[in-house]
Subunit: 304 residues, 4 copies
């Protein structure tokens, strides 16, 4: 079974107003997602604000989600750090805590070429015994991952899948095709929240939409429609989801880490899934007006 098949939300990380981890809210979020029918959980991703957590906090989150999930679905874990040997340390800790797979970016801060980046993944993969998923997220600094390299690493057994948040759908389609031509060594998923139907049509195995923290059941319905070939139903569901996605555009003039994730947190708080929409320092909190605008949209689409 493909490790990235279906809807795999990138979990938000809830905080208490004093900035400490809110593990009770994290438990409720896990149960909310599982009740929606999701196929896996991805913790310590960008939506989880992993960049702002210390190593000790990362471990606490993984430990808790693994315990709460109790094997009902796989838990995959992000491991962002600067380079391979540092990431290997992160990955080994995640494996020890029960991760089903680790999600690994290209090097950060370093300036590497394609051959060096391929070797980077080989070094990380050699350090753990669980699958490695390559994470393509050029907006956050690492280099764009080349299609041929990804398929080659799949063939070698170095990586088991790709989480594509590059925003390059032509590249994604070509990856899907090249992967199929190579015997499908890779499981491929997209982070494009509002075009999941189109990406499933062209061959994605799954989706990793941050918005699924708010509406997991909607994404699962969309995926199920696509699975049975009812593309009109999939599109209709996606269109409904996209009206909800407008919450991400209510915050204006915010930083990249404040707006969208802030909106998802505000919506989950309004739904009672998490207690507080607190953001980690130094990310600015949304204003009351912004939160009101977000809640109004959640209400309009019928989730409240």
């Amino acid at each position: 079974m493909s490790i990235l098949r279906g809807i795999i939300p990138p979990l938000l990380t809830p905080f208490h107003p004093d900035g400490s981890l809110d593990l009770d809210s994290l438990d409720r979020l896990v149960e909310h997602l599982l009740a929606g029918g999701v196929h896996g959980l991805f913790v310590l991703g960008s939506s989880g604000q992993v960049a702002y957590l210390t190593d000790a906090e990362r471990d606490t989150v993984v430990e808790r989600v693994v315990a709460t999930t109790a094997g009902r679905v796989p838990v995959v874990v992000g491991t962002p750090d600067l380079t391979a040997r540092r990431i290997a340390e992160q990955a080994r800790r995640a494996e020890a805590l029960g991760a089903a797979a680790v999600v690994v970016t290209a090097p950060l801060y370093a300036l590497n070429n394609a051959a060096e980046i391929a070797e980077h993944f080989r070094i990380v993969a050699a350090s753990v015994s669980i699958p490695v998923i390559a994470y393509d997220v050029p907006v956050r600094g690492p280099a764009k991952l080349a299609r041929d390299m990804l398929v080659q690493l799949g063939r070698e057994g170095v990586i088991a899948g790709v989480k594509d948040s590059s925003g390059d759908d032509v590249g994604f389609r070509r990856l899907v095709d090249a992967n199929r031509a190579a015997g499908s060594p890779l499981s491929v998923s997209t982070g494009h929240e509002v075009v999941c139907d189109g990406m499933l049509l062209l061959g994605a195995d799954g989706c990793v939409p941050g918005l699924a923290n708010v509406d997991p059941a909607g994404y699962v319905r969309m995926f199920n429609a696509a699975e049975r070939g009812d593309w009109d139903a999939a599109r209709t569901e996606q269109d409904r989801i996209n009206r909800l996605f407008e919450i991400a555009f209510v915050p204006q003039g915010r930083s990249g880490d404040a707006g969208g994730i802030g909106a998802f947190k505000a919506a989950c708080a309004a739904l009672g899934v998490i207690t507080s929409a607190t953001m980690p320092a130094p990310i600015e909190a949304l204003s009351d007006d912004e939160v009101a605008g977000i809640v109004a949209i959640v209400r309009e689409v019928g989730l409240i």
Copy 2:
């Protein structure tokens, strides 16, 4: 009827080996496309290497394609120039020569903000009586066109459609949705050759694929399948087209204007549609090995 509905290939511009326009080949290309069932023709686009033509040559191309097409489908015309009053001169000439619509980019070389870019489109639109289509092609220098501005210009009647070659499919979906919410003032098409099926699923009116110069009938079959809701057939056809699209990746280490368009020209020459794959100076010609690789793929997919 939407001005951008269906398959509207961006025509290649054929040259004689001495660099002069090859109008007989241009005639054959027009007949090849119309025989394939395309819904419109787009001349003087990026695939038409418009940047390399003088104004006199631009006029010659428009005049000839309009004459050969003889009203069977609309002919839309690209008008790239630096700023609004210069583009208006291009657009007025195109209108006089029989263009059904003009395709207009954001300012080039200039450094404008959003309000100034909106005004830019208003200045151009006020100078002609045919529809203006906004062309979003940030890779060539103009600014990315903002969704809200496009819908607003549609509401004002300034623009009638958008040709999106931005590669930002999430932005495209949001444009489709916002346009629908505004009462669909805009006709919207994508230049994403290898994900046309997915873009049609999510609401595109049409596609402007350079590869359709080579295989217009394939794209028309894909579009027709999508029109009748047979998405599996659409995807299967697109998958076949995508194997053909690999011709664009045979040239390696070429400039952006030499590789893909060079491959389309080489394929059309191999099919006998145009006489020579000559590129305008200073674009480097493809090597014999590259041409052989391209022809092999055209043969593999059964077009020869």
Copy 3:
């Protein structure tokens, strides 16, 4: 004598409030600059808002400045257009109107590699008999010009100089050094208004500062100090000029073409050199508050 030696201001293009060219103001600007002691005049550059002029207006400006200057200093002319054969048409017209040299960018809108860009300059140079100066201005869309290519084109006699507005001073120093090692075929100037002293120290032949429209005499004093090796005096003069340059930062949230050039125009209008600070459509005019802030700085540094 180096074609780019000394202070060569890129002339503003004055407009009447109705948007038509103000040739009387243009005459006064020329006299203001010559009275300041400048070594040459550069018309139809970015500071001259050339992108917004039609070809007919370009010709009018060149004709008038050549006539007013009457041979007292050389007049060099910008020729921006998309590609080589189009630029050649611009350059031939400029030569016929009396240009001492033409200033030529890399291709716009086109996507070329290094070899194609070199050939681009050869095509333009072959079309005129006056010197060609390469203009490196990557912020406006054309590719960054490679050092080795520039020196090679200098050796071939294709180009006579480089106007560097790339903002890459390390690249500039390496160009200066490589040019000297090749026997100095090129005249090299910088557009970096606020570090002209440092650039002259490291070997620039001249400067092309937009701010010299406002204070030509200050830049000439700085250049003369540098010429006689009095670097402390050069730096002191540059420091004074830099306080004046703060006018460019008074406009906030403006487009790239509205802020700095708008400030230079407002200052020249306050000095009585030009009649109106009118900007070509669609560039937004500065607010009254912004103009007041600019005038206050002009007064502070003692120019009024």
Copy 4:
């Protein structure tokens, strides 16, 4: 005394051929630099390949350099990590090991706005009692640091200096001027190896050139000439240094982390300062031909 005054080389980190740290070579490098007269040492910078070291290795390097230096000059320490609380952990360890100051970048991987980035520095500064130096190195992913923010943080006492590796010399000059106008709360240095003379002329306190690992005495002579106002001597020395800097361009087609630093290591190995030019995995080693080309240049300029 300004913390960044003079020549402060960013130390290379020597490795044994098996990839482990070579502390004896590190000792020799420290003595080589001190013999050249440098004014401070910067360890764990980009030239030190800090991104490739584990935390344990970082600590070993700091400990050893502090011990070998034995107070002869200040040792400043780089602390790159993703966000403020993680950097604070790095900075506290550096302080405990004897760092005179820490060098701190903007957040990595995170997407923050200006206000959040300012707060980021405040969080780090509050966690240590030694000075914080802001490190502006946008090519490695963190956001460009805004001038006004830096001066404001200087005024607040949050940061004591700026190490500018942004390549934006106009921005640097404006920072120098704004800092002076604010009473010079900041010490400002540039990483622009080949324009240090020009940057000192316009007011830099010091330089942090990677090439100074190879020729510390040359940079110190250049700085001393500048200090006594002998700008012709400074430029002549810098011109000589720049001929040496051509070693950085011998490697062709290498990654950003392989070429320049590889050349500095090869040169230091040829001089006998370090034993091996080994690069940390996955950075590719230079070829024998590249090393021979580098050594030839070192010989030409008379260092061997």
